[in-house]
Structures are given as C-alpha cells and as structure tokens.
C-alpha cells in the first residue's frame, strides 16, 4: 500500500469546561489514502466535528499528530497547507457572504494564493462555476439570487478553487432537500473521479454514507468504535453501536426493512 495522503496518529482533543475535562476526541488513528472517500459518522457529541476542525487547523490537537503527504502539519498552518486542505460546510445559506457577489467569494482563493494573473482570475471564476454545473454569469449574482442547491455548488467550487487535494465535507447535504441532495452527491462523486480528490465526509446520515464512501469510521462519544470498508460495515457490522445506528435509519423499501430487521435481530 502506498503512503497515506492524510494520517491521523493517536489524535486527541480535550476541552476544559467548568473545571472538568471533556474528551471530545480520544486517541484516534486513521490513514486516509489518496483518492479515497472516508466517511466519519456519528451522532451529536461523537467528536466528528472536532476531528474535522483539527484536520483543517481550526482547532489544535491536545495530543497526537496529523500528517499530510508524509509531513506533520503544524498547529499554525502555512498558506500552502491551507491551500491543500479545503472545506465544504453544512449550511449553504450561511457559507456565502450575503453582501458579496458569487464571483467575489470565488475569487478570494485566487487572490490569497496568487493563482493566475489578475486578468485571468475572472476567466478562472467562470471556469470554476462551469465545473460545478452552473453558468459562468452567476459570478455577478448575489447569493440571495441562488437556490440552496446552487449555493452549495458555489461552496464546492470555492473549495476547488485552491486546487486542493483533500476536501473536508462537513454534512454537505444535510441541509438540502432530497432531490437536490442526490444531485450534489452526484457532483461530488464526479468531481472526485475527475480531479482525483480525497474526501473526508462527515455525516450523521448512514444512507448517504452507504452510497458515497469507500470506508466508514463510526464514532461514539469521542472514540472510533468501528472502521471498515462500506460494504462490510453495512452487511456485517461488528460493534453494537454501529448496529444500533443502522437499524435507526428510517427507510422506504422492503429490501431495506429486511436488512435492517436482520441487523436488529442479530444484535439481540
């Protein structure tokens, strides 16, 4: 196996709150291969968001190390590190500045990282928009003129603007309607194939994860309780918590009900 693009080694994060320690993430080690989509699932308080924030450099780990492309990432990220790791957030309504045009929001990455010459940046913005399936003239519009799905496309385009290799996708579709969700998931899958991207897909929705991830890490109260290839995790979950999570998913087809019931009974 080749060296992992991202390696989390014995990563922990402890918060102090009213005098006692809260272990948000405890001793987590995961290797993420280049081009892989690794899902991190869990409920609120599982530590999945804290983990994502540490990877992005928003939070400093209390212990452990994050290695990217073979090198340890410092607590204070350089511009080059920031450029390599980008983020797509959950809520597309808040992720774009309501007072700046779509073009201005997308251009920021080019300006900060000095990508292309000044004149060429406008053309790049148009190309980016087309990459995510939006017309280039959306650059002039304010976010308010776009639907939720379109805004999420812009947010994805912004993450791509830095030519990042790794995207942290923090619940990228959970604020969207189901029809829009399926198109955004499709776009994410296509972009990954096209640009050879690596995804860290944070989600609470197991049905979504089932259809997009290569491997799934299940988190409960700050600990990783199971890590397995997606197919195996759903057909033969080993940890009781994983089984509980899967059997709580509201489903719509007979096949799913059968599968879920089998898991539930296996657990009993």
């Amino acid at each position: 196996m080749t060296a992992p693009l991202l390696a989390l080694q014995n990563l922990s994060k402890t918060f102090r709150s009213h005098g006692h320690a809260v272990h948000a993430v405890q001793d987590v080690s995961i290797d993420v291969a280049a081009g892989e989509c690794l899902a991190i699932v869990g409920e609120s308080g599982s530590g999945k968001s804290t983990l994502a924030n540490m990877v992005l450099g928003i939070l400093a780990p209390s212990a452990g190390e994050i290695r990217y492309d073979g090198q340890a990432l410092p607590a204070r990220r350089t511009l080059a590190h920031r450029r390599a790791l980008q983020l797509v957030q959950q809520n597309p309504l808040s992720a774009l500045n309501p007072k700046r045009s779509i073009g201005a929001s997308l251009r920021l990455a080019f300006d900060v990282h000095r990508i292309g010459d000044r004149a060429g940046r406008t053309a790049r913005v148009g190309a980016l928009l087309e990459d995510v399936g939006l017309p280039a003239d959306f650059a002039q519009r304010p976010p308010a003129a776009l639907s939720g799905g379109q805004r999420q496309r812009v947010a994805i385009a912004r993450a791509l603007a830095c030519d990042s290799r790794l995207l942290v996708l923090d619940e990228p579709t959970s604020a969207l309607d189901v029809l829009v969700q399926s198109r955004i998931l499709r776009l994410l899958a296509d972009l990954r194939a096209e640009h050879g991207l690596t995804y860290l897909f944070i989600s609470h929705d197991l049905a979504v994860v089932r259809n997009i991830a290569d491997r799934v890490a299940v988190f409960e109260k700050g600990r990783m309780v199971e890590l397995a290839p997606t197919d195996r995790l759903f057909t033969a979950p080993e940890h009781p918590y994983t089984r509980r999570l899967i059997s709580a998913v509201p489903v719509i087809t007979e096949d799913e009900i059968t599968m879920r019931d089998q898991l539930a009974h296996g657990a009993a």
Binding site: E43, S44, D177, L179, Q181, H204, P250
Partner: protein, 296 residues
C-alpha cells in the same frame, strides 16, 4: 358517516407583497378521519408547514396573507368561528409539536409549571395536585423514568430527546382530537428520533388522536402514517394509503423523490432532475382500501 376531524377543501393561500401577489397554495384538499395518522410530505417551500399553520389559524393573522377555501374541524367551519372560540381550540382540541423541542419550551419555567398551564387551558381552575397527578401519569405514558424529577427540572437541564417526549405528553394533555406534528424529531439524533417516533405512534394510538404529520423525510413518514399526501409547490400530487404510495408511486414527482432517497442497501447515487415538466402532471389518487395499515 361521521365528520372527519379535519377537512380542507380547495385551500388557497396568497401573499400580497410590494411587487404583487404570490400564490403559495393552489387549491389543496385534504382530510383526516378520527384517530387517523396522515402525513403531508414534501420538500422545503412546498407549502406543507404553511398548511399546518393555516389549520392552527396562525397565518390568517398575518398582514398581507389571503386565505381562501374551506377549513372544517370536527364538522364546524373554522373560518366562521369567532376569533376567541378559534383561539380557544388551540392547545385543547388541536395541539401542535414543533421541530426543535428544546426551543419550543420556555427556558425560564420549570416543566411542571408549563405543564400546569397547558392543563389549565383544558380544565380551567385545575388544582396543583390534580395537575401534578395528571402530568405524572402523562410523562409515565411517554416512558419518562422519573416524572417528578422531570417536572421539577428546567428544559435546558434535559436532553433533546427528553424534551421531545415532554412536548408529546403536553400536546396530548388535553386529549386533543387533532395533533399537528411539524417535522418532529428532525433536530434529534437518529437513534433518539427513531425511539421518539415509535413512542409517539404508540401514545396517539392509545389516545385515539388524529395526527397531521408534516415531514420531508420519506422514511419517517413510511413508518408513522396510515395515509400519505405528497405535496409539490403548493399542490397535492399524489395521495393514498402509505403502503400504496410507497409501493407503487404513480406520480413522476413522487417517483423522483423515492428514487432520490439513498438506500442503506446501497446502489449508488441516482441522477435525478431537480425540476421536471412532468412534476406538474395531474394528481394520482390511490383507492383507500379497508383499514389501510402502515408500513413496518
């Protein structure tokens, strides 16, 4: 034949703005029988939540809102009812539970105090002892382990799941004929949501309460409702027994919704159009058979 608990006929809603009038509901008809659990499922902006608020009489009070059509509740025309009588129905004959249980409860008062207020709406002058006894019994019904401790607590001291149960107990406190549930449990974790829904289903069955269940989540609807209405951009596009709608969806929009729902059995992400000319097709109605049962 008895009157349905709720019957909406050709309901229309328009908002007058500075730049003209926009119609949001285009002639929506829906009925709920006694003790029946009916879902109204659709995406955001489809008009499902606004429909619930019209039934409660909240939209009619807004400036610029124009509601037309017939709203009948237990055989009486809601629009002919004097304002005061209509207001009196809320919290007694019809009650509502909202998406986020914790913010629906007043953080400044103990659960017990809020519970007594709710009970006093249905039974004016209820004594403190009687209210506590009734509240304890109701909390017991929604499987809350130590009711007296919960009654003495403030909402922020309880978990989201616990607050949701408290909300359900309060909503049923005055034995309403109709319970309106707007995206219940959406703010909760999946495992808690599943428990809460199972519980809610059990207690409304026991109380014989009719439920209008508003949701965007197909899986949740399938598990909860006897009958389902699918709403798309202010129009009902399909309705019938839940089994039939899910098993043999007839309308292109319903079919797209079902196809877009990711499956835990896998199969990848399908390519689906957000908008399609066919979504405007005429309504599909599944015949209501005898005692249509819900899914698992």
């Amino acid at each position: 034949m008895t009157d349905p608990v709720l019957a909406l006929h050709d309901l229309r809603l328009a908002f007058k703005g500075f730049t003209g009038t926009t119609e949001v509901l285009h002639g929506l008809s829906l009925s709920i029988d006694r003790g029946e659990r009916v879902a109204l499922v659709g995406e955001s902006g489809s008009g499902k939540s606004v429909t619930a608020r019209i039934v409660l009489g909240l939209i009619q009070e807004m400036r610029g809102a124009k509601v037309s059509g017939r709203l009948r509740f237990q055989g009486q025309d809601l629009d002919r009812l004097p304002k005061r009588a209509r207001h009196g129905l809320r919290g007694t004959a019809m009650s509502m539970i909202f998406q986020d249980p914790t913010s629906s409860l007043n953080p400044a008062y103990r659960i017990g105090t809020q519970f007594r207020e709710v009970l006093a709406r249905g039974t004016p002058g209820i004594t403190a002892e009687a209210a506590t006894a009734r509240a304890t019994a109701l909390l017991d019904e929604v499987a809350i382990p130590q009711p007296d401790r919960v009654l003495a607590a403030y909402p922020f001291q309880l978990s989201g799941g616990m607050n949701q149960r408290v909300m359900i107990a309060m909503a049923l406190a005055n034995e309403p004929a109709l319970l309106i549930a707007d995206e219940p449990g959406t703010a909760l974790d999946v495992t808690v949501q599943a428990q809460t829904l199972r519980l809610m289903r059990r207690v409304v069955e026991q109380h014989g309460t009719a439920v209008l269940f508003i949701s965007h989540n197909l899986g949740v609807v399938r598990e909860f409702a006897d009958r389902t209405y699918v709403i798309y951009r202010g129009r009902i596009v399909e309705h019938g027994p839940t089994e039939a709608v899910f098993h043999t969806p007839g309308h292109p929009y319903t079919r797209a919704l079902m196809a877009a729902q990711p499956r835990i059995t896998g199969g990848g992400v399908p390519e689906i159009a957000e908008r399609d000319a066919q979504y405007g097709d005429p309504m599909v109605v599944h015949p209501t058979g005898a005692a249509a049962g819900a899914g698992a």
